[in-house]
Symmetry: C2
Subunit: 177 residues, 2 copies
DNA sequence: TATTGTTATACTCTATAACTATA
DNA sequence: TATAGTTATAGAGTATAACAATA
């Protein structure tokens, strides 16, 4: 492979301090574009959630608890890919605000069942609607079909790694004995 | 609109601690799926960049400097949506490692021109290739057409907000002439 | 011994206020 | 006064080690 130019289609770099900034090698990378779109959507979701005194991860936890009454903190943490120590503070806050309840299991007293309260359920439904509306504002340029296609593509990325977790190191040479 | 169930197509919530976790309202939200895909790609890019002693934001800066010789820190910060104070430490590190040079402008001695060194250029090209390879590993499930479509959709989200920053409040009335 | 929930802690990334030197 | 770069600092979000209670 020849010594790579950073971008095959873009114009030649200008001599000095341009007023229009050209993209480097990063623009063609999916991760870079993913991050910039995520920033937009996350800011919108964050602002919407804030109106209900919720941060985005807190809402996510509440949402999964609503959908899975009796889920344990461990299962919740694993599902949302949150480290258990970090989940504790979220669950603490949800419980303090009386949006969820923590009940010790009798069969295994190490574990706790998380269930949403009526108040928590109501707040969740309101916040979910507000966040959905905020997202819709950001997604005006995309039709319903585009949105479904986008989610499908994103899920393919997410699942590809969990199903075929082949490391780059194993890919270049033979595995150690 | 009736009192929303969290998800119209999913099965009824199970009675207690399920071994399969159902998604809440969040699975239908684009931002949630965006984040999870981003985590996968960012982890891959981070691991690849680490082999060259670079963090992802550091590589992004280097990449834009390569493509825009003479760019000022302010322009770089604005373009990458990095706060200027945070950019300083990145530029400091790049300069300390002699990957870029900082030269004071004679026409305006407040400003600096950032240019890549030969060493920086070489490292950038190697890192870019490694990161691209790492991304490709994550994107095995997507064809070239899918990837282009994904980037297009992501850019639409990013640009929709900067072009039409219409607040929800302004949205209820008729558009201005 | 292994697991659940927990505490404390550290590290990355990001955000804000205020300073300096130039203009 | 306004701007570019900088400093210091604070806040999210995330990650790791180690502990007590329980199995």
């Amino acid at each position: 492979m020849p010594r790579a130019r950073s971008n095959s289609t873009a114009p030649t770099p200008s001599a000095s301090s341009p007023d229009t900034v050209f993209e480097g090698a990063i623009r063609g990378m999916v991760g870079y574009n993913l991050k910039r779109a995520y920033i937009v959507l996350h800011a919108a979701a964050r602002a919407a959630a804030e109106d209900f005194g919720l941060r985005v991860p807190t809402f996510s936890c509440l949402s999964v608890i609503v959908r899975n009454p009796g889920i344990t903190p461990s299962a919740l943490a694993e599902h949302l890919k949150i480290e258990r120590p970090n989940l504790v503070v979220i669950v603490d806050e949800l419980e303090t605000r009386e949006l969820i309840r923590r009940t010790q299991m009798k069969t295994d007293r190490r574990r706790y069942e998380l269930t949403v309260t009526v108040r928590g359920r109501r707040l969740h439904d309101q916040a979910a609607e507000a966040i959905r509306d905020a997202e819709a504002q950001c997604l005006q340029g995309l039709g319903a079909e585009d949105q479904a296609r986008l989610i499908d593509l994103l899920n393919k990325i997410e699942n590809a790694m969990t199903e075929a977790p082949v490391s780059a190191a194993e890919h270049t040479g033979p595995p150690p004995p």
